[in-house]
């Protein structure tokens, strides 16, 4: 019988060995394939980096080098801001801005948080809006739009200037400092500034007689004239009520008479209150007429 085992010098067997066959099949398994081609290098990389970073001294040195590199890039002349230019600000604001922004020039533009700086500038009462940008050449340009005061508000805290939205602009010490602006008085007057402006515009015909507006109970306005005359305006529709009073004034010279209060709070029942002297006079006239009748 021929030996069953093939001789060593036999022709090369084209068949893969059992192990090679199994390995080939394993290699064709998708999960295993991804594991070897992605997982293994990834793991080796992570492991190597982890090992290298596990030494604290090396870690610190790396951090230091990184910080130095960041610093170096920040200090490059391309990123330097050397000065500041303010546009559209009045003298006091311009003087206050460096203190508000608190930047020591030269600074790196990467370190400047323009959004935060803008918020800080806009926190100033007198500034309505601000635009910041870094101009080529390393100049920080601050464009400021200021609020325009339209009213003087006498509140418990003192005298303030208000803009057309009711926002405080600045405080003043003396009413005479801004005698050109109308006066409003009372708590909560700053929250009703648009209405006040409308009323003041409507009250134009009163001219010099107008003393100011008083906010009553934080809900409605009183128009105060000289000679202690008052026009009590309703909560809603105040300008229209005022127009009616002014119409009476122009036709009947209402306010020129001896009247203390014109009460327009109730739309359908305007009321007049006479001054004490006028009331006494009226009483006297009535008495006289009664006596005349009885005669």
């Amino acid at each position: 019988m021929q030996p069953l085992a093939a001789p060593a010098s036999a022709r090369r067997d084209p068949a893969p060995s059992r192990a090679a066959y199994r390995l080939h099949r394993l290699w064709l398994t998708p999960l295993f394939r991804t594991l070897v081609r992605v997982g293994l290098p990834g793991f080796a990389l992570a492991f190597g980096v982890g090992l290298w970073l596990s030494d604290p001294a090396r870690n610190a040195a790396l951090a230091e080098r990184l910080a130095a590199m960041v610093q170096e890039i920040r200090q490059r002349p391309e990123f330097l801001v050397r000065g500041m230019e303010v546009v559209g600000a009045s003298g006091p604001v311009q003087a206050a801005l460096p203190a508000v922004l608190d930047i020591t020039f030269p600074a790196s533009s990467l370190a400047l948080d323009l959004e935060a700086l803008r918020a800080r500038i806009e926190a100033i009462d007198v500034v309505r809006s601000a635009e910041l940008r870094i101009r080529p050449g390393g100049i920080l340009e601050v464009a400021v739009t200021e609020r325009v005061p339209v009213l003087v508000w006498r509140s418990r805290a003192g005298l303030d200037l208000l803009d057309e939205t009711g926002h405080r602009v600045a405080g003043i010490l003396d009413r005479e400092a801004r005698a050109d602006l109308p006066l409003v008085v009372g708590d909560g007057a700053d929250r009703a500034v648009p209405e006040a402006i409308a009323l003041l515009a409507a009250a134009g015909p009163l001219g010099e007689r107008l003393r100011g507006l008083v906010r009553m109970g934080e809900r409605r306005w009183d128009l105060v004239l000289d000679r202690d005359q008052r026009i009590l305006l309703p909560e809603t529709g105040a300008p229209a009520a005022l127009e009616r009073a002014l119409a009476l004034q122009s036709s009947e010279d209402l306010l020129g008479r001896d009247i203390a209060v014109v009460d327009l709070r109730l739309d359908r029942r305007p009321t007049l209150r006479l001054t004490t002297a006028a009331l006494a006079e009226l009483g006297r006239i009535r008495e006289a007429s009664l006596a005349g009748d009885s005669r």
Binding site: D13, P14, A15, P16, R18, Y21, R22, H24, R25, L28, T29
Partner: protein, 444 residues
């Protein structure tokens, strides 16, 4: 019997799993070559009806993504003869196909040519309980078929119901839902040597693969090379393989007979080697290049150098004429065809409505075979090539790959077999009841 039923059901389940996963390999274990194709199943239909392709009997569902062939070793007469060698050859083919497909396959459907298939026609008949035929009734009539004595060490490879009859009507292909009283069924059963199946199973398991189906190569090459009307009207497919020649007869799209002749192309090569005193490899080459079956006057003048490296000048310079070569090959081919004729006669092939014969398989490429076969088998002979399936490389479209291609069709669209129907429900309770009664009688 139930053991076989269970194992076949298991294979069917395996096949379903493989198709769900979308990958299955088919393996044709032949005497001269082992072919492995890897199929990918891409969902229900790759083509729309508007493309003009149509469902194509389920073929458009799959695509061949890997194909490999290797010289077979350790297989004789279509049966595994040396396990280690065959295992290695299977491994080579599977690895090469996997390499081409770049995927790993776990399920394989295999076919083999030999193992002495024997074909039986069996019949069963039952009374139907409620006049409508249900799936249960089909299972019952299949189980009621009288099982022939297969003999020692034989297993059922195919058991296909080919015909149903309901009362006086016959020729039904699917009786389910119809109304009648008596349901009868004809079943075609193919049995093979159990040892051949065992050996193949062992080789496939050694390659870390799961067997998802088994088929006779005569049957699957018939599936691949017979066209539809031939299958319908009756035709025989002769698969001239290397070591065995498979015969399958089809009628009404069912295989009704299968057999195999243990002779094939390798015997022709062996005759050439013996007759011309040349090594087997040279004989194979001479047969393939110069071979023929019908000699003409021209062939006397065509001289063939036999070559050789014996060192003897006289021997190495021998020349033979092509006529001599034909003279050696022809008697053997005639013998094969006579044998086939005898088998077909035994199967009463002559009584079929149409008697067309299709020759396929690697050995059918011999020039002049159709003329010779027409003289022996009858006039309606043609040479068949397997159907073309998607993605099949050009190199494996030849007639030698008919069974591999047929196996693809078998994998995609298997015919219902006996084990595709559930076991009739009443069989189990009856038996367990009987067992319980016996237990009572024995113990009380």
């Amino acid at each position: 019997m139930t053991d076989l039923y269970q194992s076949q059901r298991m294979m069917r389940k395996m096949r379903r799993v493989a198709i769900e996963r979308g990958l299955v390999a088919v393996l044709d274990v032949g005497t001269s070559k082992i072919a492995c194709l890897i199929l990918r199943f891409d969902g229900p239909e790759g083509f729309r009806e508007a493309d003009g392709v149509g469902p194509m009997a389920g073929q458009s569902r799959f695509r061949v993504i890997g194909a490999a062939t290797t010289r077979s070793r350790g297989v004789r007469f279509g049966e595994i003869h040396a396990m280690q060698e065959t295992e290695r050859a299977i491994r080579t083919a599977v690895q090469a196909a996997q390499n081409m497909a770049r995927v790993r396959v776990d399920h394989v459907i295999a076919c083999f040519g030999g193992a002495e298939p024997r074909s039986y026609g069996i019949a069963g008949e039952i009374e139907i309980a409620d006049s409508v035929v249900s799936e249960q009734d089909v299972a019952r009539v299949l189980s009621a078929s009288d099982m022939p004595d297969l003999g020692q060490g034989r297993e059922v490879l195919h058991a296909q119901p080919v015909n149903f009859a309901l009362d006086h009507r016959t020729g039904l292909s699917d009786p389910r839902g119809q109304i009648g009283h008596r349901l009868a069924c004809d079943m075609h059963l193919v049995s093979v040597e159990a040892a051949a199946i065992q050996n193949l199973l062992y080789c496939i398991q050694r390659c870390d693969l799961e067997l998802a189906g088994l088929a006779s190569s005569a049957y699957v090459s018939g599936l691949a090379s017979l066209v539809e009307d031939e299958q319908e009207l009756g035709a025989a497919c002769i698969d001239l393989g290397g070591g065995a020649t498979g015969i399958s007869v089809f009628l009404k799209k069912h295989m009704i007979y299968a057999d195999s002749v243990r002779l094939g192309g390798e015997h022709v090569s062996a005759d050439v080697a013996k007759g011309l005193h040349v090594p087997a490899a040279t004989a194979e080459r001479i047969k393939t290049v110069f071979g023929g079956l019908i000699a003409t006057g021209m062939d006397d003048r065509e001289m063939i150098d036999l070559g050789g490296d014996s060192g003897d000048w006289e021997k190495d310079r021998r020349r033979v004429s092509r006529t001599e070569l034909i003279g050696i090959m022809r008697p053997r081919v005639e013998e094969i065809l006579e044998d086939v004729r005898a088998r077909l006669d035994a199967a009463d092939f002559a009584s079929l409505p149409s008697q067309s014969i299709v020759l396929t398989g690697g050995a059918s490429q011999m020039p002049g075979l159709d003329g010779l076969a027409a003289r022996i088998l009858g006039s309606q002979v043609r040479l068949g090539r397997p159907l073309r399936v998607q993605g099949l490389p050009q190199a494996v479209t030849g007639p030698g790959f008919a069974s591999a291609v047929g196996l693809c069709l078998f994998a995609a669209h298997p015919q219902d077999e006996w084990w595709d129907f559930e076991v009739p429900a009443e069989r189990y309770p009856a038996r367990s009841l009987r067992r319980a009664v016996r237990w009572f009688r024995d113990n009380w």
